[in-house]
């Protein structure tokens, strides 16, 4: 009786070994584990017969059962390992690096924001501080304090969207010059990016656009400083070979005033994109206008209570979309505000 049981027990090992040899997947191998070694498996079944044995017989059978269990576990684990290794090899052999990936969404920064950042970082690097202010302004800060009294012909240059007789949408970021100077005492160097508004809408004008204003006031600020700062800015943003040209101009809040041109970024200043093709961006002049600037007009200092005999300063204002168009080669201004994802997505 005892020997029968032990014989049956011991026969389980070759039986499992043979079955494992025929199993080709981990699932089949697992099924074999359940069949032979599981709680209701063959081994367990035989063991449940132990209850019928006499106490003398039990130790020998128990010992045999343990040996069988260990042997079966070993062959099973060996088989699992062998199968796993085969599968790993297979997986490696057929690993496909071209398989499509799971990539997180790529967001995008509006080109206006990108340019504003780039410009602001040039100036903050030079020690300027970024300030911001309201987009709805009053006549004093937007015009009067900037030496643009009512009926001044220069008000023509910026047709205004009005909220009431004296409240308007700021036509430039220059009111931030006034607000900053009223709030602080020199020396001060600030840069003010923001939205501005004009009553103008056509293929080259949108009623809202963005400007960046810069202002430096101290006791010995000169036009040479202005040129130096703006050259640093231009060459950082457009490259070190870019040439800068100062041309006299007029702004009511600066005197002397200048427009700044840079050598055309499209044709490199030659005026031609090919030997016989005129550059359309600079209209063959080799120069493109990018900003207006000048020395703060003494009349502006008077309005904010700075003594023009002590302080001098410079101010400049540039159009962000204009820079973005030149920098990225965007031809149509209106695209900036359509928010087409195929446009925005290019600035990721």
């Amino acid at each position: 009786m005892t020997n029968d049981i032990i014989g049956t027990l011991e026969s389980l090992v070759p039986e499992l070994t043979q079955a494992l040899g025929q199993a080709s997947s981990l699932d089949e191998v697992e099924a074999l584990r359940v069949r032979f070694l599981g709680r209701k498996g063959l081994l367990a079944e035989l063991m449940s017969g132990m209850a019928a044995l006499s106490p003398e017989e039990r130790p020998a059978v128990g010992k045999a059962a343990n040996t069988v269990k260990t042997a079966m576990t070993v062959v099973w684990e060996e088989r699992v390992q062998a199968l796993q290794s085969v599968m790993q090899d297979q997986a490696l052999e057929f690993f496909d690096p071209s398989a499509p990936s799971w990539r997180p969404d790529r967001g995008s920064l509006h080109p206006v924001t990108r340019v504003m950042r780039e410009v602001c970082s040039v100036f903050t690097g030079l020690g300027f501080e970024v300030v911001s202010g309201p987009e709805v302004e009053n006549d004093f800060t937007n015009f009067e304090a900037l030496n643009l009294p009512p009926e001044h012909p220069a008000r023509d240059m910026q047709d205004t969207l009005y909220i009431s007789d004296s409240i308007l949408l700021r036509t430039h970021t220059s009111p931030l010059q006034v607000r900053t100077m009223l709030a602080r005492k020199p020396p001060l160097g600030v840069i003010a990016p923001g939205k501005v508004y004009r009553r103008d809408s056509d293929i080259t004008h949108t009623p809202m656009f963005h400007q960046i204003e810069g202002l430096l006031v101290d006791t010995h600020v000169t036009m040479a400083d202005l040129r130096g700062i703006l050259t640093a800015f231009v060459q950082t943003v457009f490259g070190h070979d870019t040439k800068v040209r100062f041309r006299p101009s007029f702004f009511p809040f600066t005197e002397p005033s200048a427009e700044v041109d840079i050598s055309c970024v499209i044709c490199g200043g030659s005026g031609k994109t090919a030997p016989d093709t005129a550059c359309r961006v600079c209209k063959e002049t080799g120069w493109v206008e990018i900003l207006g600037c000048g020395m703060v007009d003494p009349a502006v200092f008077a309005k904010v209570g700075y003594d023009p005999d002590i302080y001098t300063g410079f101010a400049f204002g540039l159009g962000v979309e204009r820079i973005a168009m030149l920098k990225y080669g965007i031809g149509d201004l209106r695209m900036f505000f359509e928010n087409d994802l195929r446009f925005l997505g290019q600035f990721a």
Binding site: E135, V136, A183, G189, M208, M223, R245, L341
Partner: protein, 798 residues
């Protein structure tokens, strides 16, 4: 300002290249925007000699001409003009010519006769009104030479952009002065000699409003012949874009363009009485300007009156009741100065900007008024047979007084950062027409009467810089000094908004920028409160007439645009101001920095290996929680019944501060923006977030040393019970061993039925700060928690 080069050369002998002239003007601050040939359209036309002219065999009004144009073979041209005849010299447009009106001349057959070109009338050439027949040229002309050479049309025109301060450059003379100064060339003024005859013009009295008219003077010219001006004058006007009208009007325009002084000619016989007054209108009075428009005036409009009625809007436009007609013979020629602001107000209010008002608004040279008046009178005598009456009728309550300005060369050097030596400063100012007395510092500088813009020393410094060459000032990099006491005034707004935008990009959203204004209809459609809206009183259109009180309409437009462009997945954000009225503000407006996020369409791109699924509440809430987490803040989310366009709408609070709303855009509203699926939206107040963020501080917590034990508990939670309530209730007992609790899974077996409950598996994470936990410690706590929550909440074990 269009400048004719040939006209300029009458004042200054510039012989260099046009391009060098254009560059010089540009670098003087007189930007040349374009250089063009004003008669380029006539470039291919030539002088032809009509050798033979016969009646067309098939027509009673056409002629068949043989025209010699200097080429080997003469051209056959069929001509319809009644005045064509053999022996004439005529303008010929050969085949291939594009006429000024755009018509291309082609080889054609006219009733069987070949025609290889066109013989042109004045009107066809854009040179005049003559269209009764072809233009007949001087008989001495050589056939084949260019028509432009034959007519003296070879000119170059520079389009010069004049800044508002340089009123003096709105004339040939003014630009000639600059050219003379820049190239050190002599300036030649026109020789003006008025030959007076007949009865003196002394009976006219001039009465002016001294505040608005510092000078008014006039001459009388009798016996003028009204007709077309001579060709040279007409061509010159045409070259700079003015349409010739008749001798008298053309002469006033010519002199204005030449000398910068607007002139006006009245028909003497249509003026009542012996008096001219310059006085304000009365409120509401009507007046018909010579363009035939009836204008309603205000008490601020300045008028020219005869003895009984207004006859011109001063400095803006003449009246129909006194304008020169073909029957006129006596002309009262006005040369005056009007208050710039007054002219500007009237011109702007009436939307009536004329060449005259443009100049008066910017200021004219009071001293130069006499020269201009006399020059025009002389031309009327020479070109229209007029007799200039002796004497000038004049009132000048405020004769021109020149300013004396101080000037210190060292100040120029100090402001420009480039040495300006004294000799250069002096010669420059003198070349520009200033009188300089440099005996002592500051120098005494008297600007010329035509330079009204030179009012202060700094204006003189600009002149010195301009003539020195602003582009020659060398750059230097300054150091930006800072005040120690201003360091705490650093404005954090820009940096914070940048941080928010970076977050948006980082979580995969596209930044949109919309106009700050929308239409009131857009706001109404969203159902937002109409109180406190900031309206634009002169909007470009009705869909841009109000500032956004909510960013939504702008982002909804972005949504619509992209859906209309076939986008199925829109995930965007915008950082911008909203605006509401605020009586306390110096701008009457309160502006608020806000962040709006809009999600529509798939949670992931619709392709392998991403799973399917649309954006839902969890997505928008997750983004907001993620943002708050980035800022070291945490929010609470409560259903709110009150939102104009979100349903469901959920308010977001951080502590006691309301920071915004999230929710689903009402389907009916989303539908109007073309969105068929769900649109999820968040709107957050960045000013509040900035304030809260400014108060947060990162405090390091030690990293736990001992391991955790995790236990799951699955509970049947009714749909009516917020899931977070369970967590709150667990936390009520403040069990110190409980390190974390979160939902591991939710299964809703009877979804869609009335009895539906959620089987929610909460995972409890236990940890002891100072020792390794044993199962039995956890068992006790875990069952205490289970008892507590099943006792407190309508939940059970499933």
């Amino acid at each position: 300002m269009l400048l004719s080069l040939s006209w300029l050369r009458e004042f200054v002998p510039y012989t260099g290249e046009v391009s060098a002239l254009a560059d010089t003007l540009t670098m003087l601050g007189l930007e040349v925007e374009e250089v063009r040939n004003p008669f380029a359209a006539l470039d291919t036309l030539v002088v032809g000699h009509v050798v033979k002219c016969a009646a067309h065999p098939e027509s009673d009004h056409l002629s068949v001409c043989r025209v010699d144009i200097g080429a080997e073979a003469a051209l056959d041209i069929v001509c319809g003009a009644p005045n064509v005849a053999a022996g004439q010299k005529v303008p010929v447009a050969p085949v291939g010519t594009i006429m000024p009106d755009g018509l291309e001349i082609k080889k054609a057959k006219l009733r069987g006769q070949t025609s290889c070109g066109m013989i042109c009338s004045e009107r066809e050439l854009g040179l005049g009104e003559g269209h009764a027949g072809i233009m007949i040229l001087d008989a001495d002309l050589q056939p084949g030479i260019k028509l432009s050479a034959a007519l003296g049309l070879e000119d170059t025109v520079l389009d010069v952009s004049i800044t508002p301060n340089r009123a003096d450059c709105l004339s040939v003379l003014g630009l000639a002065r600059e050219v003379a100064a820049a190239f050190a060339l002599p300036l030649t003024m026109p020789a003006v000699q008025v030959r007076e005859s007949g009865e003196a013009f002394t009976q006219f009295r001039i009465e002016v409003d001294p505040a608005l008219c510092p000078l008014y003077q006039a001459r009388l010219i009798r016996g003028v012949r009204i007709g077309p001006s001579p060709a040279w004058l007409r061509y010159r006007l045409l070259a700079v874009g003015l349409r010739p009208i008749n001798t008298v009007v053309d002469i006033t325009n010519y002199v204005m363009l030449e000398l910068g002084q607007p002139l006006h000619a009245f028909d003497r016989d249509r003026l009542e009485g012996q008096r001219i007054q310059v006085a304000l209108a009365t409120e509401g009075m009507a007046f018909t300007t010579l363009d035939g428009q009836d204008r309603v005036l205000t008490a601020r409009d300045l008028l020219i009156w005869d003895d009984v009625r207004p006859v011109a809007l001063a400095g803006v436009m003449g009246g129909a009741n006194s304008e020169i007609t073909d029957q006129s013979s006596s002309v009262v020629l006005e040369s005056a100065v009007f208050d710039p602001a007054s002219v500007r107000k009237t011109a702007r209010r009436l939307g009536l900007s004329s060449d005259a008002s443009f100049r008066f608004e910017r200021g004219v040279d009071q001293v130069g008024t006499s020269l201009a008046m006399n020059r025009a009178a002389q031309l009327m005598a020479e070109l229209a047979g007029g007799q200039v009456a002796p004497g000038v009728a004049k009132a000048e309550p405020h004769p021109f007084v020149a300013r004396t300005l101080g000037f210190t060369p060292a100040k120029a050097t100090r402001l420009l950062g480039q040495t300006m030596d004294e000799a250069f400063c002096q010669s420059t100012l003198e070349r520009l027409g200033c009188t300089v007395s440099a005996a002592a510092e500051p120098w005494e500088v008297v600007p010329p009467s035509f330079r009204l813009d030179l009012e202060r020393e700094v204006d003189l410094i600009e002149e010195v810089a301009r003539m020195y060459g602003m582009d020659r000032i060398e750059g230097a990099l300054p150091t930006v000094q800072k005040c120690l006491h201003d360091l705490d005034k650093v404005d954090p707004t820009y940096a914070f908004l940048s941080q928010i935008k970076d977050w948006g990009v980082g979580v995969g959203l596209a930044e949109a920028v919309n106009y700050s204004f929308v239409g009131t209809a857009d706001l109404d459609r969203c159902g937002v409160n109409d109180q406190g809206r900031v309206l634009i009183c002169n909007p470009l259109s009705e869909d841009m007439n109000v500032l956004r009180t909510d960013l939504a309409p702008g982002l909804f437009n972005t949504l619509r645009h992209n859906i209309s462009q076939d986008s199925t997945r829109v995930r965007v954000f915008e950082v911008a101001h909203t605006f509401v009225q605020d009586a306390q503000s110096d701008t009457q407006t309160k502006e608020n920095n806000r962040l709006a996020i809009l999600l529509h369409g798939g949670r992931f791109p619709g392709r392998y290996p991403y799973p399917h699924g649309q954006s839902e509440y969890a997505d928008i809430k997750g983004l907001v929680e993620h943002l708050l987490g980035t800022l070291h803040l945490s929010g609470s989310f409560c259903r709110t019944p009150e939102h104009p366009f979100l349903l469901p709408a959920v308010s977001v609070q951080v502590g006691h501060d309301m920071i915004g709303w999230i929710g689903r855009v009402r389907p009916d509203l989303a539908d109007t923006y073309l969105a068929r699926g769900e649109v999820w939206y968040a709107d957050l107040d960045l000013d509040v977030l900035l304030r809260l963020y400014g108060q947060t501080q990162i405090v390091f917590a030690p990293i736990p040393k001992y391991p955790v034990i995790r236990r799951d508990m699955t509970l049947a939670v009714p749909l009516s019970l917020p899931l977070e309530q369970v967590v709150h209730t667990v936390r009520e007992i403040q069990e110190s061993l409980l390190d974390d609790i979160f939902i591991a899974d939710i299964y809703t077996p009877d979804a869609g039925t009335a009895e539906a409950v959620r089987n929610v598996t909460y995972r409890f994470v236990y940890r002891h700060a100072e020792k390794t936990l044993k199962d039995k410690d956890v068992d006790k706590v875990h069952s205490r928690i289970a008892q507590h929550i099943t006792g407190q909440l309508p939940i059970r074990f499933p």
